[in-house]
Symmetry: C2
Subunit: 445 residues, 2 copies
């Protein structure tokens, strides 16, 4: 590995935190999950620590059981735009689905967010899951996996063409001559595909970053292929360094067939860290969250993921493997399904143990230990082909984020793995990604 290679750290924000019981933790403020000042405080903590970016997951349905969990919050475009006003450097990554949106709107919103933030926007491209989502958009059923990915690929083609519909130098602004824009450099795209026909041009000039940073989070075969083709960062859930190495090698190898270099995509596994000054204390902090977990919530969540009613089985017995369907029959979140089944069977976990193991990170790697131990894990994965950085999922907010930035980040900086100051202004700068040339105007001159 080159010594100049730097680790990337993303703060994955989620209302009171990623642990499903975080809203019951005495240090969280669950009454503030729709209060923008709360998120502004989190954004400043992450920016003060020089993290690459903030990230928001999203879905178009009320997730989980709101009786037992703080699961309804602000919408990403509006929230990140509001955060852009009170930050200067940190990247702002919004999850937006290609299944239930129009490419013209999505291209425009990201272009606008990128202008507003001075080039800090990122798009986590998802295809959504579940019939309940479809039923909020006048459809009966969620489209099937491979058709969603076909639509996603075409959606991306439309949005990138729209961003490229203005040349970077289209604005002339010659007051004397009375020429605002060079209309030879603003053109309709006349896109005609299987799903979309979009004339263009976009009604906003090309974003400062050319395109927002394109991020992907699916780890299914279709997901990995899509990531290899278009993504510049990938959020993934990996439980072991071996699995992470295999995933890392797989997606980077797939990039070659699309003529892309492996450095053009940053692999960022999720990590939900509980940090304390001693290992014992960290484990006690984690146990405190586990004690606040509501079994009914975990059973509901796990039953939905595994498509089997776990309320009918003993909490302290094994998963009913013979009742769990095969991964082929899962429509959405295939890779998370497989990961949880594999983990439970590999480690002989009881249903209760599976609930607790996924209560903090929903299948992402959880960790409880000292800052040195966390830095060791991060360094090991980073230097051994398992990760280009991490998607940090604080179990409770702001406490676990503060612990991470005050204890772990300085240790990573001491080891020369993480920046001590931002070197650039845009999210592409932070991630070491080049600004995409304009696909139309560079080709035609």
């Amino acid at each position: 590995m080159s010594s100049s290679r730097k680790l990337h750290l993303n703060a994955f924000l989620m209302n009171t935190g990623h642990h499903e019981a975080s809203w019951r933790h005495p240090e969280t403020e669950p009454q503030r999950t729709t209060d923008i000042r709360y998120y502004q405080q989190l954004a400043r903590i992450a920016e003060d620590a020089k993290l690459d970016s903030l990230f928001l997951a999203d879905g178009y349905v009320l997730m989980g059981n709101v009786k037992y969990r703080a699961s309804a919050g602000l919408e990403p475009f509006t929230m990140l735009s509001a955060l852009a006003s009170v930050t200067e450097r940190i990247g702002l990554i919004a999850t937006v689905s290609t299944t239930y949106n129009e490419p013209f709107h999505v291209a425009r919103m990201f272009a606008s967010l990128d202008h507003i933030s001075g080039g800090r926007a990122g798009w986590n491209i998802v295809t959504s899951s579940g019939d309940a989502t479809a039923q909020n958009f006048s459809l009966e059923a969620h489209p099937e996996h491979s058709s969603r990915y076909r639509r996603a690929r075409e959606f991306l083609d439309v949005t990138t063409s729209l961003w490229d519909s203005w040349a970077d130098d289209a604005l002339v602004i010659d007051r004397q001559a009375g020429i605002f824009a060079d209309t030879e450099k603003v053109r309709p795209i006349h896109f005609k595909g299987d799903t979309f026909s979009v004339k263009g041009p976009l009604n906003i000039p090309r974003p400062p970053q050319g395109y927002p940073v394109l991020v992907q989070a699916g780890s299914s075969e279709n997901g990995k292929d899509f990531a290899a083709r278009v993504a510049e960062a990938i959020f993934t859930a990996q439980q072991t360094i071996e699995d992470a190495q295999a995933f890392y090698a797989d997606v980077k190898a797939r990039m070659l067939q699309y003529g892309r270099s492996p450095e053009q995509l940053k692999v960022l596994p999720g990590l939900s860290p509980v940090i304390a000054d001693s290992e014992w204390e960290a484990q006690e902090k984690e146990a405190e969250l586990h004690r606040l977990t509501i079994p009914e919530y975990g059973l509901t969540r796990l039953s939905e993921l595994l498509k089997v009613d776990l309320f009918e089985y003993p909490l302290d017995g094994p998963l009913p493997y013979d009742k769990i369907p095969t991964v082929d029959s899962i429509n959405g979140n295939k890779s998370r399904f497989q990961l949880v089944v594999d983990m439970a069977s590999r480690e002989n976990l009881t249903i209760r143990e599976v609930i607790l193991r996924t209560a903090g990170g929903r299948g992402h790697l959880t960790f409880a230990g000292t800052a040195g131990q966390a830095a060791d894990l991060i360094e090991e994965w980073f230097t051994n082909g398992a990760a280009d950085g991490f998607n940090i999922m604080p179990p409770h907010l702001p406490g676990s984020l503060i612990d991470f930035v005050q204890k772990v980040v300085p240790e990573l900086q001491r080891r020369g793995l993480f920046r001590t100051e931002y070197e650039g202004r845009t999210l592409r700068d932070h991630l070491g990604l080049s600004r995409p040339a304009n696909g139309y105007w560079s080709a035609s001159g």
Copy 2:
């Protein structure tokens, strides 16, 4: 009129200003039309003057000819969210079309903006115009006028039901008992209409204002009827006090058939004011903008509005009335079409004069004079049943907005017509509108 009745003033922001030549004016900054700091500066000017709200028009197509005009800027949801972070009181009104959007997304974005701003969101409901818009959304042609309004009515029913899908007291947040929300007070809406089937509930709690303030801008028969049924403020274009009085009386009378009281809707005609210390100076300032006007741009704009190629006629001759179609054949912007034809024929204007008369306000009332004269006009319309306030359209920005707030607003305050301090925190407070009761939870108890 009651002495407690107060005037409402909205600042209609538009890149370098409403005059189409504003970007050539020496005091504007056309290179900043995608710079959020520029709009933050405008927002602060308007808020310091205690105006009710900021308003952004919108469309999903590159409008006009960008060769001759600064016509591409930021998207309203992202821009107003970014402005919410740097303001405290002023209302934030976004234009969003019901023709090219999904009600779930729109309900959610407005709920999010309303939470982010602490109850300052408003929705200017439009149905869009033009086949070019349709062609950015995989359609050939723009839907016909009355079908757009049918969709708009159903769209509104869905969005209000979604905002009402959470009772105002749905959040319990009892950490000890482990109850986050009372799921008896969060319900699916199971909406089934001609166009939309939406299950719900929304994935964000009810907005602070219940619903964002509902605003409408169409003045066609369908538009007036829609406004009378649902709107709480209406932006309208009126050239004379007589026309404004007729319009005012018409929409307020129509409200009765929907069981609404006339005070529940504020009629706000557009006014594009050029203010100076003397009438002569104001006229010279207006003439300076007119001299910067580009005839090709005006001819293109007017030809598009009137559906006739005006390049074939002498600039200093009359409009070719026999070639202009009837209003029935116009699909979109019917009322503006009629207003411009009527004005030209009533005042015997040449084509050049029509271009100049509409270059500043696109059919809205333009005014050049002293602060006292402007206050006289505003007071006359306000006290004689022509307006509840005005939608102020500064010809160039920030200059004409600064002139208005520094010269006209203090005069209106001296006359006791306009507030000297905000009395409430929400846009509903400023407009004197009540917070809508929850349509579902109040009915069922």
